[in-house]
């Protein structure tokens, strides 16, 4: 190692130390925990090593419920929110005068606290002894029978969660997509106009390919974000998500860590690593698809 190299390492030291202590070590620790059977947090002891934690988690009906919820959430909200965001951005970029007004409105959810917004959603959808909630009043006005969205049937609760998730992620996606749309050089559209290209063809053949890198970015981060959903569900359904049947994988991990006096860090670690594996797989698949399609 020459002089320069040594110096470089010296300068990097603080960053490397911090990353090591606060990122690498905990990550390694999680992997270790997940293979230690019967680990006790208080006594720091365990019986042995093996894959029992994984098998326990995978056979836990609560985990399976959380897995199902998370997958439904991901599959519904990611395409829906990206699609809506694209539609809204297209509309926004074609009416320039309304842009500024809209930008405040669509940014409201972004700057508002998750829990506060969740509370509002709960009030909108909740059915109590005194009131049916605003949404139910509206449903009633159309002659439909009221539904309890917060404590009622599974599909109703899922609907609220998806609705909420789409609503929360929309502003960020709109922001990204409007700026992506604005960055497409006007000359491409002018050239297309001279050649008599129809509006729909302009969209499919020019606009969409040009902003495809941004769309894929949003899809990938959307997948990752939705897989990590937790606080949204808590905001709407309260902390006992298992009882509500609305738990998510991250919620399950959290419950395993802190629930039931001291918790089960080994199960939590195993569940977290399963989540990690899922997210990694999906992201790799996404990247593989995008490599073929997206032209940077």
């Amino acid at each position: 190692m020459n002089e320069n190299n040594r110096k470089a390492w010296l300068y990097l030291m603080p960053a490397v130390l911090f990353l090591g202590v606060f990122m690498v070590y905990p990550l390694v620790d999680v992997v270790v925990y997940s293979f230690e059977e019967g680990y006790n947090f208080a006594s720091q002891t365990f019986f042995g090593t093996g894959t029992y934690n994984y098998s326990y988690v995978l056979h836990d009906p609560y985990f399976m419920q959380a897995l199902k919820n998370t997958f439904i959430l991901v599959i519904i909200t990611v395409p829906l929110s990206t699609g809506f965001a694209l539609l809204i951005s297209l509309a926004l970029s074609s009416i320039k005068k309304l842009k500024e007004l809209f930008s405040t409105i669509y940014f409201l959810p972004y700057v508002t606290n998750t829990l506060a917004v969740g509370l509002v959603f709960m009030i909108l959808f909740k059915k109590t002894a005194y009131s049916d909630g605003l949404v139910n009043l509206l449903l009633g006005a159309f002659g439909m029978s009221p539904v309890d969205f917060i404590e009622g049937p599974y599909w109703a609760k899922m609907f609220v969660l998806c609705f909420y998730t789409v609503w929360v992620v929309l502003p960020f996606k709109i922001l990204i997509l409007t700026s992506a749309l604005a960055s497409v050089n006007e000359d491409y559209y002018n050239a297309a106009r001279i050649d008599g290209t129809s509006r729909s063809r302009m969209f499919w053949r020019i606009t969409l390919p040009m902003i495809s890198p941004m769309i894929f970015y949003l899809v990938i981060t959307g997948f990752i974000g939705a897989f990590k959903a937790y606080s949204d569900a808590v905001a709407i359904f309260g902390t006992n998500l298992n009882a509500a049947g609305m738990n998510t994988i991250v919620g399950y991990v959290y419950d395993m860590l802190y629930g039931n006096s001291g918790g089960y860090p080994s199960y939590a670690s195993a569940a977290a690593l399963i989540l990690f594996a899922i997210v990694l797989t999906i992201t790799v698949i996404n990247l593989m698809i995008s490599r073929g399609k997206v032209s940077a």
């Binding site: 050089n185 000359d187 491409y188 002018n190 050239a191 297309a192 106009r193 001279i194 050649d195 008599g196 290209t197 129809s198 063809r201 053949r205 020019i206 390919p209 040009m210 032209s295």
Partner: protein, 367 residues
């Protein structure tokens, strides 16, 4: 196809109330005969691109009419005008191959003009051959050189066989050598196809070298039109005289007194009896100054520059309007090293006199 622009105006309304509107094109009146290559020339911001956009229909004029042949196309949308436009930055679709780019306009055709895939590919290949780009059909634009990209852009504009081809500063992104080469290429393609072509540039040399006719613009106004050499030899106003020619023309503030033209104390021409006494600007092309010990024009030498074939004398004169005046002379006439002054004889055909309004004052011996 003949193109007629009839008193075109283009105003852009100002953002703020009270500010004057921008008049980008003002009273533009021009007839372009069929099959010519016309250079639209002028400094930055003079309205060249705006004029081009009016012709192709991306902009609608505030007033005035546009005719292609005998047809009034003023309110026709761009796709029905049958024009091809090459953008300054080419605007090639980066995600499509060269072939797909060239085929793009054909894929838009509807009704009885609709083509089969085979026909489109044939047409695309034909256009690609014309611009000699057929070996690169499967590349993306990013994988081509600037000159090749430009040829693809021309092929895309030509593939539908437009009646009028418009080029907006197509050479501005190229390096000096490629510029020279591609402007000849444009000339060749235009000759081969016989399509009426309008070529925008702010480089006068480019316009002079390949066009049949130039239109010199300033602030949205046509300052002069004509064959390049004629405009160069006989500028109608000081702006055109200054704009054409490299090195730039030398301008002096002069005076006409009883038929003699004074630059400072020197009488550089006389016999101008038809012209009343007044202040004038005198413009003399660098090649019109010939060193001559008996010449009337007495100047101070500030430098001698020998650059290959051309030698130039950088000189000063009390009436000069710019600090660096220049004469281009044969090396045999170059004054000796160490000389402080030089006297010039002036070729009268390359000296122009302008009034204070910048308009040409014509002397009697020339029409």
């Amino acid at each position: 196809m003949k193109v007629v622009l009839d008193h075109l105006f283009m105003r852009f309304p100002s953002r703020k109330k009270g500010d004057p509107d921008t008049v980008a094109v003002s009273d533009f009146d021009l007839e372009i005969p069929d099959g010519l290559l016309v250079g639209l020339l002028g400094p930055s911001g003079c309205g060249k691109s705006t004029t081009l956009n009016l012709i192709c229909g991306l902009l609608t004029p505030s007033s005035g009419r546009i005719f292609f042949g005998d047809e009034d196309v003023t309110s026709l949308p761009p796709e029905h005008r049958g024009v091809g436009l090459v953008f300054q930055n080419y605007a090639l679709y980066p995600h499509l191959t060269v072939k797909k780019n060239i085929m793009f306009p054909l894929e838009n055709l509807k009704g009885d003009k609709k083509m089969t895939r085979r026909e489109m590919e044939e047409k695309a290949l034909e256009a690609a051959r014309l611009v000699q780009i057929e070996d690169y059909m499967d590349r993306r634009p990013a994988e081509l050189s600037g000159g090749q990209q430009q040829r693809v852009a021309i092929a895309r504009a030509l593939v539908k066989r437009p009646g009028v081809l418009l080029l907006d500063e197509p050479l501005s992104n190229l390096d000096a050598r490629l510029r020279l080469q591609t402007r000849e290429e444009i000339r060749r393609i235009q000759k081969e196809t016989g399509i009426t072509t309008i070529f925008v540039t702010h480089d006068q040399e480019e316009a002079m070298s390949i066009t049949d006719m130039i239109v010199v613009m300033e602030d949205g106004i046509i300052r002069q039109t004509g064959k390049p050499q004629e405009v160069y030899d006989d500028p109608a106003n000081l702006f055109v005289a200054k704009f054409l020619g490299t090195p730039a023309i030398n301008v002096f503030s002069g005076q006409i007194r009883s038929g003699a033209l004074y630059a400072g104390e020197d009488i550089i021409a006389d016999g101008l009896d038809g012209i009343s006494d007044r202040k004038v600007s005198v413009a003399i092309r660098p090649e019109a100054l010939v060193p001559d010990p008996d010449g009337p024009f007495r100047c101070g030498i500030s430098a001698l520059e020998v650059m290959g074939r051309d030698c130039s004398i950088v000189f000063t004169h009390p009436s000069g309007t710019s600090p660096a005046l220049r004469a281009i002379v044969g090396s045999e006439l170059l004054p000796g090293e160490g000389e402080k002054t030089v006297r010039f004889r002036i070729k009268p055909s390359k000296m122009f006199i302008f009034g204070e309004d910048g308009e040409r004052i014509r002397t009697e011996e020339r029409p």
